[in-house]
């Protein structure tokens, strides 16, 4: 008998949870940005560590606003162009380093995120092309760019 009040309380809570208006709250992120991190490759791939570049500058070519301006970073997020199937980014990792250009080709998929968040454009990565001025190599970890905040590509450097 002593557990009955507890059981009733749990039931009521569950009922209220089930009756929650899902259109009022956005519980998932709407930022379907492409995640990228930087890796330092030593001993020819035998020792790979995360690395921080001291003055990272990143922006989309053809877009005036700069995403990152001379900031120390070990990772970055890039919003892909929702109106086209390709976009290019300028990436300079240090003030003295030669800048690189990253080109992304992808498919756009409008997707329903949740009743509270509505719709967002998700991307399915097809190709990533880069110049190799400072970048040594590139690896695609996950081709599906959705609201999961993954690290989709890793850039490797040798120095």
């Amino acid at each position: 008998m002593k557990y009955i009040s507890g059981i009733i309380a749990i039931l009521l809570l569950s009922v209220f949870a089930a009756c929650e208006d899902e259109t009022k709250t956005c519980d998932s992120t709407l930022l379907s940005d492409l995640g990228m991190n930087f890796k330092k490759d030593t001993l020819q791939g035998f020792l790979v560590k995360d690395t921080i570049w001291p003055k990272v500058t990143l922006y989309a070519i053809g877009n005036d606003s700069v995403l990152i301006r001379r900031q120390p970073r070990s990772s970055a997020f890039m919003p892909l162009d929702p109106l086209h199937d390709t976009c290019r980014f300028y990436l300079q990792l240090d003030s003295i380093a030669t800048p690189d250009t990253l080109t992304f080709r992808y498919k756009r998929v409008p997707s329903f995120v949740s009743p509270g968040c509505g719709f967002a454009t998700f991307f399915s990565l097809d190709t990533v092309i880069t110049t190799y001025n400072t970048i040594d190599s590139i690896h695609i970890n996950n081709r599906e760019v959705n609201s999961s905040n993954d690290t989709h590509i890793s850039l490797f450097f040798i120095y």
């Binding site: 039931l11 569950s14 009922v15 949870a17 089930a18 009756c19 929650e20 208006d21 899902e22 259109t23 989309a60 877009n63 606003s65 995403l67 919003p79 162009d81 929702p82 109106l83 998929v109 409008p110 997707s111 329903f112 949740s114 009743p115 968040c117 509505g118 719709f119 967002a120 454009t121 998700f122």
Partner: protein
């Protein structure tokens, strides 16, 4: 006078006592030759095996039955109207029914309709569909009167829903590229299957008029909605983006007597006895 009365009374009592004594004492055998003589032919009747006295005394076995009413209990789930207050985009109607199949077993079904309509600055959604659940309830209420129709039950159901929905317009905003992408999602049809576990009770508040509540846990088995567009609501199941859903129902129902059910009580008691004996043996 009194003397005469007492005399006659004593005579009559003595007479009665003598009669009683005669009844007790067997009459003496007649004076004749009692020596055993051999008979030339066997005149004895063939002997039948003697039965045990206890068996002879038992009356012939008859199974005892009881007859109780069976019928259809039809009800309206009024909790669906309360859900509309919490989730204004949902309009649901649910009708539940059950029929008694056995002593403890009931067949249960539910049919319902759902209409979903939502609109905000980011998207507009429209959907409607129907659903049905079919299953069984096991009544574990110990009844004093076999005709009692109250029940406390555990049940299992299979649910199936068909839904059609669309997003006539949506708007995707992107801050960095400073663009707004409008679009629409065409009408999509989907079906969903789930399993429901339920616990509840139904009480006869007035003759043939029942009030009942139940808690339900629904587990989604499959749905064939497109990956990039889950429905807001799956009729009868609940949220279209969840794989399990808890729910509470409150039903007002009416019982329509339709047929009679006959139960063999003797067999049941024998079964119970056997079970008890088995239990004792195991112990």
């Amino acid at each position: 006078m009194i003397r005469t009365f007492l005399y006659s009374l004593s005579i009559s009592l003595a007479g009665l006592l003598t009669q009683a004594a005669q009844a007790q004492v067997k009459p003496a055998p007649a004076a004749r030759d009692t020596s055993i003589k051999r008979t030339t032919t066997d005149t004895s009747a063939p002997r039948k095996p003697v039965k045990a006295t206890s068996e002879v005394l038992q009356p012939p076995r008859k199974d005892s039955f009881y007859i109780t009413g069976g019928g259809l209990r039809l009800g309206l789930d009024i909790s669906r109207f309360a859900i509309h207050a919490f989730q204004p985009y949902r309009t649901d109607i649910a009708i539940q029914g059950d029929v008694r199949l056995g002593r403890k077993i009931y067949a249960a079904a539910e049919v319902g309709f759902n209409r979903t309509s939502h609109s905000d600055s980011s998207y507009t959604y429209k959907g409607n569909g129907v659903y049905t659940t079919l299953g069984f309830d096991y009544d574990f209420l110990k009844k004093k009167d076999p005709n009692e129709k109250n029940m406390v039950y555990l049940g299992v159901r299979y649910g199936f829903a068909r839904n059609s929905y669309e997003a006539p317009n949506y708007l995707i905003k992107n801050g960095y590229w400073d663009v707004e992408t409008p679009g629409s999602f065409p009408k999509t049809n989907m079906v969903a299957h789930w399993i429901e576990l339920t616990f509840g009770m139904r009480v006869e508040a007035l003759p043939n008029f029942f009030l009942g509540w139940a808690v339900r846990e629904k587990i989604l088995l499959s749905k064939n909605s497109p990956d990039n567009f889950d429905p807001l609501v799956i009729p009868g199941f609940g949220s279209g983006s969840k794989s399990s859903q808890f729910d509470l129902t409150y039903t007002v129902s009416y019982y329509i007597p339709l047929y009679k059910l006959k139960f063999n009580e003797t067999k049941r008691m024998e079964k119970l006895k056997r079970k008890e004996e088995k239990k004792k043996l195991h112990q």
